[in-house]
Symmetry: C3
Subunit: 133 residues, 3 copies
Amino acid sequence: MMMEIPVATRERSELVDVTSLVSKAVSQSGMTSGVVTLFVPHTTAGVTINENADPSVKGDMLRGLAEIAPADRGFYRHAEGNSDAHIKASLVGFSEHIIVKDGRLVLGTWQGIYFVEFDGPRSRRLFIKLQPD
Amino acid sequence: MMMEIPVATRERSELVDVTSLVSKAVSQSGMTSGVVTLFVPHTTAGVTINENADPSVKGDMLRGLAEIAPADRGFYRHAEGNSDAHIKASLVGFSEHIIVKDGRLVLGTWQGIYFVEFDGPRSRRLFIKLQPD
Amino acid sequence: MMMEIPVATRERSELVDVTSLVSKAVSQSGMTSGVVTLFVPHTTAGVTINENADPSVKGDMLRGLAEIAPADRGFYRHAEGNSDAHIKASLVGFSEHIIVKDGRLVLGTWQGIYFVEFDGPRSRRLFIKLQPD
């Protein structure tokens, strides 16, 4: 089964916590054991895992990624001006995989699942694929 | 079922579009629903998703990655001289996962699948593993 | 089936070879064909693939990553002082996927599987999820 959830982003770069959306999708499916694959069908956004406690970690991650792939490299030739977003999306990745056990996502204590926008604000989508055992 | 496809690269760093190869493998298998896992059995090449429209995005990504992990760091000790390729491969990743629905790859409008060479030219391989529902 | 293996790290940044542990888990399970998903339930550690031959590649990778996400950026605000570790973990990723065929991990000749510590030393865990065909 594949589900599709809309994600509305509000900033150019932003981490959107989607943990509860994914958790709800698993609960509603009735799946008790297996793997959930999350997939981002875009080229300037990704999905990752990050700390769900101190919100300053989100800002540090976005500022760190902006240093790693700056927006204004002189050598960029792509006319849309969002090459940094393409690079950051490939670094962070387009899919994430969470194990499901006893009907629940098996995440570490401090882990949250984040949709990562690098070229917003936009209306985005996140695909959720369930693979029951 | 696991398939193995050869990928010939022509440059030291290169993005090779493998979307149609993966799509064909899925069609030929007869799988209608599930997940395709792509796996690169190398340590200096990876696989990612990127824009399939403007070809300048590929160059921008390779130039951006070359800034992130330069080829000539004074602190590299690996005698083969390709430590940058090992780093870039780990950043981009060795696997990619595409959902299959109604017998087709579920990709976003602008998404293509790219084998990423970081230490070519070489004869490489890409593994395709089908996991039908 | 999901297994959980403890990983003890000894340095702040370290690549721990877990290939034989994963291989043994697959053998013991009796699974002959499918996919193994590895998942790191932490936010400052990840999992990747790297060369299993020249040990200097491990050092080069850790030094390269330390340049990419330095420990002492002036703009970090997270009070724990480990924002670099969060960034590096998201870049390297929290999961890895290995195909299993004829009862064995299908890895390339030079590939080893590495748990990647970015904020050790700590007692860590690695989850191994088997998805037989």
